[in-house]
């Protein structure tokens, strides 16, 4: 069972009242939430915080949701993104899935469906991170056998850089 308190969530929607209310409800479920009302603020918030899951609207002033999704997926390799929009067409849903959206939910959506989707996205993120860490350990083990101490340090630094 996932402990909601561990899930760092980024909620992005330009409809302020909706954002405020859904944030209150998610807080009652003990999620750790940061909210943003536009794409620029969302991208900035993601740079500063370590988020597990982002829930983003598609139609927003300035940078739209598809662009936010693209930027977040490019810069934060473990972050899972859920699209929650009243404006999703089949075409945008296909585009978002290709870019890497975890799930596309239509507004208004059942609150329990959103909560379940956030938990599933978090579990996927953990699994991806775990698999990646396992691979990293194997690489380090292989390095330890065949490299000099300095060579190992150089390779580790390179792996750390790739991690970011």
């Amino acid at each position: 069972m996932t402990d909601n308190k561990k899930i760092h969530l980024l909620m992005v929607d330009d409809e302020v009242k909706f954002l405020e209310t859904i944030t209150k409800r998610l807080k009652l479920k003990f999620f750790d939430i940061t909210s943003a009302t536009n794409g620029v603020d969302a991208i900035e918030a993601a740079k500063k915080g370590q988020f597990d899951v982002a829930v983003i609207d598609l139609q927003m002033p300035g940078i739209d949701g598809v662009h936010v999704l693209e930027t977040l997926k490019k810069n934060h390799k473990y972050l899972e993104v859920i699209i929650l929009s009243g404006h999703a067409t089949i075409e945008t849903a296909v585009d978002c899935t290709k870019i890497g959206a975890f799930k596309i939910l239509e507004k208004p959506c059942e609150f329990s469906n959103l909560v379940d989707a956030i938990k599933e996205a978090y579990e996927k993120k953990l699994k991806k991170k775990f698999e990646h860490d396992q691979l990293r350990i194997k690489k380090i083990e292989a390095l330890a056998l065949g490299q000099s101490p300095l060579g190992i340090l150089k390779e580790l630094a390179k792996m750390d850089k790739d991690e970011k």
């Binding site: 009242k17 002033p61 239509e106 507004k107």
Partner: protein
């Protein structure tokens, strides 16, 4: 004339689709807020059942929010209804202020819409004989063009400047940087030509003057064609 009617039909479909999509988006937002607020009320009720003390102001806030959004939904449906009825008669006398207000409200559902203020200095009713649906389409296109340069945080002012030369002048300006490069687009120009609407632009300060004729021969001719067309 056949080309003109084809153009009107194609543009009408596109315009209608665009406006309907933005209205449905608005209504989905309204329903989403009501749904989440009523869900929040239910969450609070569960907490109260568990013995948690609740502030009455929280409950009052929820019920006020629901009432507000029901009103927002009603206002949207009223605008949708007005918009739907604007095709009832292809050519008719319309109140220019009403048409402008409706179109501004409809374009306001777009996420990139700027804030628009309308000023009618002398409170005079400006009625024009026109194709209401096409006039809405033209105003909508002009607004979208200006929203692109002003952005969602900017303001646009539309003033009923004067009533002369058998028509009404609307003056569009903004305290922000209004860019009119490329205006009018080919589509705006063609729509304006059909309606007999003319534009003139000031460079400093950047302002757009829109002249809407009280009536024109083209409109009367178009009215006859569209009446015939609507029965065939």
């Amino acid at each position: 004339m056949k080309d003109t009617i084809n153009f009107i039909n194609i543009e009408a479909l596109k315009f209608s689709g665009k406006v309907n999509a933005s209205i449905s988006h608005e209504l989905k937002n309204v329903l989403a807020i009501i749904s989440e607020t009523s869900g929040f009320l239910s969450d609070l009720t569960d907490l109260a059942k568990q013995g948690k003390d609740l502030k009455i102001s929280l409950l009052e806030g929820c019920s006020e929010s629901i009432a507000e959004d029901i009103q927002r939904g009603f206002a949207t449906i009223k605008q949708m209804n007005q918009f739907a009825h604007s095709v009832d008669v292809p050519i008719k006398e319309v109140d220019l202020l009403e048409t402008l207000e409706l179109t501004v409200n409809l374009s306001g559902f777009l996420s990139f819409a700027s804030r628009v203020q309308i000023k009618n200095h002398d409170d005079e009713i400006r009625s024009v004989l026109t194709c209401p649906f096409l006039l809405q389409n033209l105003i909508y296109q002009i607004l979208l063009f200006t929203y692109e340069s002003i952005g969602p945080d900017g303001d646009i002012l539309i003033e009923f400047n004067s009533k002369k030369n058998d028509g009404t002048h609307l003056l569009l300006s903004s305290p922000a940087k209004l860019i009119l490069d490329g205006f009018p687009t080919a589509k705006i120009k063609k729509t304006a030509d059909i309606l007999g609407v003319e534009f003139s632009m000031n460079a400093s300060p950047v302002e757009l003057s829109i002249w809407v004729p009280n009536e024109s021969n083209e409109i009367v001719m178009l009215g006859k064609e569209l009446q015939i067309d609507s029965y065939t």
